[in-house]
């Protein structure tokens, strides 16, 4: 097995092995656990870095495991895969640091970090999967490994949320599997192909393909929280903050959105999908989700709930960009995979930090919190402004490409959707900023820990500052060589090759 074929597997193993070992650690061996976690995360970043360099220089990294005759498990590092792998590897490291600080002293940490690592492994598998079967295997694995994380606290509310989550996602998986099997019957075995793998099918099967497209999108749409399949997401926010952060930024929701990208671009192909007439309905559905999620977010007082509905809205930018046929929109949609991840994870880190340090769970409890925890609120402010789309934050770049792309594709109505969404984002984020920075504190907070050198435990503070800096950097330096935007342009250019 050469280096090039081993690398994708090694990337998976770098979190799988620590995860499995951690299960066998005793609860109090927290140093070993943390060391294992961090070592895995660092090794993974190194491996992903090597692959990133290689893919940029057109090297191919592929692992193939024969499963059934004609059906292989294929892991392959293509440009699109690298986008999600890099995001996950980077954010896994900061989330691990955050989680270590967040869960300090709480029970069942070995279980938590074990599943946490497995969850990342599954996400990596989803990113690297190169055919629908492989994608489905890891997609299922992700469902099963996140369930224990959602119900981690074990409260009745958490158990109920876990049940909802499981019902939604398993049903989604069933629909997805149905779609995959049907598609394989129609089209035979195929792997993801840039520009689509189905365009050879004649017009007699187009009716069937329409139904299959709906099934596949419904399957991945559950995790991507497309309205009306979004019900599980706001409920699942009872999970601990690091889980929510991971769920909303890189793992579950992102896996769904990533699935949408794969199905539209590399199963059907954007041109073929547009000819079939499926892109416009998908874009409409995404637009509906964007507006609906924002409307719901405006009235939530619970901070994490508000953020959850914001995710419903923001993740659909990806679907919207992908479903608009035109290379500029595609760039906007693809780059938002990364941008939404770093912005939303920052917000959840801050929410978790506020809850853990001061016991704040609601927006109405945040009066004047900017004075007590200025750095946390700086990070929150940066990410929130990014979500609204204020330059130079990352969110502006996404919106810019989506908006200009909408005009290029002749879909002017999308601008109205973006405008409405920006205004609504401002409506639910700016009051938080005003409350935190300009109102006077109404009473004492429940300080859960004695105040140390910093405003909070550095493990809770540092991750949010790092990701907030990334939010600015990815926007401000969007035109540089290794920015997510440049990478997204590369992917889009390959997708739209004549």
């Amino acid at each position: 097995m050469s280096w090039d074929t081993a690398l994708p597997v090694l990337v998976l193993l770098s979190s799988l092995v620590p995860g499995l070992v951690i299960f066998f650690l005793r609860e109090e061996q927290s140093r070993v656990r943390t060391a294992l976690n961090l070592a895995g995360a660092v090794v993974k970043i190194g491996l992903v870095g090597i692959m990133l360099w290689g893919v940029y220089h057109e090297r191919h990294y592929e692992t193939r495991l024969p499963l059934l005759p004609g059906l292989d498990l294929i892991l392959r590092a293509d440009a699109l895969a690298m986008l999600l792998t890099t995001l996950s590897a980077g954010l896994w490291l900061v989330t691990t640091i955050f989680a270590v600080g967040y869960l300090e002293g709480s029970p069942h940490r070995s279980r938590f970090f074990g599943f946490f690592s497995l969850c990342v492994t599954a996400t990596m598998g989803i990113a690297l999967a190169h055919n629908l079967l492989t994608f489905f295997v890891f997609y299922e694995l992700l469902t099963l490994t996140t369930y224990p994380l959602v119900i981690h606290r074990g409260t009745p509310q958490a158990l109920r949320a876990g049940r909802t989550y499981l019902v939604y996602t398993l049903a989604g998986s069933a629909v997805l599997l149905l779609g995959i099997v049907w598609l394989h019957r129609v089209a035979g075995p195929f792997s993801f192909t840039q520009g689509g793998a189905l365009s050879h099918l004649g017009p007699q099967s187009h009716g069937t393909l329409l139904v299959i497209f709906a099934l596949l999108i419904a399957g991945v749409g559950v995790k991507a929280a497309l309205v009306p399949l979004h019900g599980w997401l706001p409920v699942a926010m009872v999970a601990p903050a690091p889980v929510s952060a991971l769920l909303h930024a890189v793992a579950v929701v992102k896996a769904g959105a990533f699935g949408v990208v794969r199905v539209v671009y590399e199963v059907f192909g954007i041109r073929f999908a547009a000819d079939l007439g499926v892109t416009t309905p998908l874009a409409l559905l995404a637009a509906l989700t964007i507006v609906y999620g924002s409307l719901r977010a405006v009235v939530q007082d619970d901070l994490k709930r508000r953020l959850a509905y914001s995710t419903v809205s923001q993740v659909s930018y990806i679907a919207l960009g992908v479903a608009t046929p035109g290379s500029i929109s595609s760039i906007g949609g693809i780059v938002h995979l990364v941008h939404q991840g770093i912005m939303k994870i920052t917000l959840f880190f801050c929410a978790g930090n506020l809850a853990e340090t001061l016991g704040i769970h609601r927006v109405s409890e945040m009066n004047g919190v900017g004075r007590r925890m200025p750095w946390t609120m700086v990070a929150f402010t940066v990410a929130a402004l990014g979500m609204i789309g204020v330059p130079p934050m990352a969110g502006f770049i996404s919106k810019w490409y989506l908006g200009v792309g909408a005009v290029e594709a002749g879909q002017g109505w999308i601008i109205a959707v973006l405008a409405a969404s920006s205004a609504l984002n401002a409506a639910y984020f700016l009051p938080i900023l005003h409350t935190a920075w300009f109102k006077h504190p109404t009473g004492e907070w429940k300080e859960e820990h004695p105040r140390g050198r910093f405003e909070a435990d550095w493990r809770l503070l540092l991750p949010s500052l790092v990701t907030a800096a990334l939010v600015i950097a990815t926007g401000l330096f969007a035109s540089t060589v290794m920015s997510p935007l440049t990478w997204a342009k590369l992917i889009a250019a390959r997708e739209y090759q004549p």
Partner: protein, 579 residues
């Protein structure tokens, strides 16, 4: 001449240093140092405005989507008055807020807004302009609500809502106008707008988006609320410098000078005239001196809107129109800044002779705004009338008369402003506050001198032109009118009893908003928050509505959601397959 390699560095510093200091003021350790340096930073921008060679552009391909900063004639004028006003306001603010415990926070926002203002003047591409415009707009929120009073918060709320609306309108306009996602330089954009298929929509969005900043009717409502509640130095930069960012946006993004657009020309001239008179009339009914000044700004921005309207008329008229707009912007920025700073100075006077000095000082910018001979206002009016000579659509004789009539109004409004001043309101100051007097005096001298530096014609000829009868009579009539009102004093005081609330048409809007808010709270908010039972309990509703509600509630169950999805997908697909 500084060598070209130093230029970019100086430009960076002019934009970046205020931002660095803004962050510095918030750090406990560096706060005092940052505060001490804060008022000096606009001088960097002034230096750029003076020494940078014309038509130079600095490209930064690694920044944003390829940023460009540049210097042209428009930039130079804007940069000079912006920097001058911010410098005076900065020093003034240091003295004005000397006892304010929150002055560090004030300076953080002040410096951030300064950075935005300088940056947008230097910007030579659409995205960079939009970035600094947003920075300035959002940072100014901190200036508006600085005092933390009820009125300040109300003004702040109105302001920030309009900022967001403006941002959204602008970004929509930008989406429609840029020729490509990475082709954002002004040189590429303005010609693309003229040829764009949805040109009228773009123009409308741009006019409205920047119109919010420029106080265009009916988007002006935030101005008379925000300018009086902000600390006086902040009012000066808001009303003098930042308001001009709207004008600059129009000059940069509208297809003025790129073709003949009679419809938009008429619209802008009409809107400008309306604002010119409306601002004066409502301003006269105000009882707060700063509010009267804010309305005067609305009125004066009307003249600049007229200049833009002339530019729309034909490419031939544009060079004259833009130089008129620039001169007007320069003159108004300095004069209005001096008037606002004067309000604070008046509040500090302790005896009779000081009061007379201040009133005499304030008379200069007041007369300038009215367009009295030999003042900068007369220069600006002259330039505007020169531009009108190029106006090809009709003989604009009546327009000149209307402009003179508006000048009469401005004169009366300025008299009213002087009448409303409250000397010695803050007489707790132990001694003559040099920190207030000196910056104000500097600005006064600038009002008298600086505009002449930007007149291209020989000064002798211009002086004789400003001494014409048409410059005299509006001021004379205005003074007579104001004098008569003063003489029959009761009526003059009674103007205040008309009580047009500051923010005028906002009252109807707030009424509508509060109605909507009531509806939202009682009907939609519980629904959106997932509390259908509130709804069911409060209203007797028909069977259909009940069904809708129940459906919303049952979305929580997978089976229904899935079914609905398939149904939705089916319907959508059906429409696209068979439709």
């Amino acid at each position: 001449m500084i060598s070209l390699s130093v230029q970019p560095l100086l430009w960076f510093l002019a934009v970046g240093l205020p931002l660095v200091l803004a962050a510095g003021t918030l750090l406990r350790r560096y706060g005092p140092v940052a505060l001490a340096w804060a008022p000096w930073t606009p001088l960097l921008a002034l230096a750029v405005g003076v020494v940078a060679p014309s038509d130079s552009v600095v490209s930064l391909p690694w920044l944003l989507l390829g940023a460009q900063l540049g210097m042209d004639a428009t930039t130079r004028v804007f940069l000079c008055f912006t920097a001058l006003l911010w410098t005076c306001a900065g020093f003034y603010a240091r003295a004005y807020l000397v006892e304010d415990p929150a002055r560090q926070r004030f300076f953080a926002f002040f410096l951030a807004a300064l950075s935005g203002n300088v940056g947008l003047v230097l910007a030579h591409d659409a995205v960079t302009f939009y970035l600094f415009f947003a920075l300035m707009s959002f940072a100014s929120y901190g200036l508006v609500i600085h005092d933390g009073t009820r009125e300040a918060y109300r003004a702040g709320r109105v302001y920030i809502i309009l900022v967001v609306v403006g941002e959204v309108l602008l970004v929509s306009a930008l989406f429609l106008m840029v020729p490509g996602a990475d082709t954002v330089a002004f040189s590429a954009v303005s010609s693309a707008v003229a040829a764009a298929p949805r040109r009228d929509l773009i123009v409308a969005l741009t006019l409205a988006g920047f119109g919010i900043k420029a106080g265009m009717l009916p988007l002006h409502v935030w101005l008379p609320l925000a300018h009086p509640v902000a600390p006086t130095p902040a009012s000066a930069v808001l009303s003098g410098a930042m308001i001009k960012a709207g004008l600059l946006g129009w000059i940069r993004f509208l297809p003025v000078g790129e073709g003949t657009f009679p419809g938009w020309s008429g619209f802008c001239i009409g809107a400008g005239l309306l604002a010119a008179f409306y601002g004066v009339l409502i301003g006269l009914t105000q009882t707060n001196a700063k509010t009267a000044l804010a309305y005067s700004s609305i009125s004066q921005m009307g003249f600049m809107t007229i200049a833009v309207g002339i530019g729309f008329a034909s490419p031939v008229a544009w060079p004259a129109a833009v130089s008129a707009a620039l001169l007007y912007a320069l003159h108004h920025a300095l004069a209005k800044g001096a008037l606002f700073l004067g309000v604070g100075v008046v509040q500090q006077v302790q005896n009779g002779w000081q009061l007379w000095v201040v009133l005499a000082g304030l008379l200069c910018p007041a007369l300038a705004l009215a367009g009295a001979p030999l003042t900068s206002g007369a220069l600006a009016k002259l330039a505007l009338k020169d531009a009108l000579a190029f106006f090809p659509l009709f003989r604009p004789g009546w327009l000149e008369h209307l402009l003179s009539l508006a000048a009469v109004g401005t004169t009366v409004l300025m008299a009213r402003f002087l009448y409303l001043l409250q000397p010695g309101g803050h007489s707790h100051a132990p001694r003559l506050a040099f920190g207030l007097w000196v910056p104000w005096m500097v600005l006064l001298l600038s009002v008298l001198g600086v505009p002449w530096l930007f007149v291209s014609q020989p000064h002798g000829a211009v002086v004789s032109k400003t001494l014409s009868f048409s410059a005299f009579w509006p001021v004379g009539v205005g003074v007579v009118l104001a004098g008569a009102a003063w003489r029959f004093g009761r009526r003059w005081a009674l103007l205040g009893t008309l009580r047009v609330p500051s923010g005028d048409v906002l009252i109807t809007v707030t009424w509508l908003m509060s109605w909507w808010q009531r509806q939202w709270r009682s009907l939609l908010a519980p629904l959106m928050a997932g509390k259908q039972e509130v709804w069911l309990a409060r209203y007797r509703i028909t069977g259909i509505e009940r069904a809708v509600l129940r459906m919303e509630g049952q979305l929580g169950r997978w089976a229904n959601a899935g079914l609905l999805f398939l149904l939705l997908a089916g319907v959508l697909f059906a429409t696209f397959v068979f439709g």
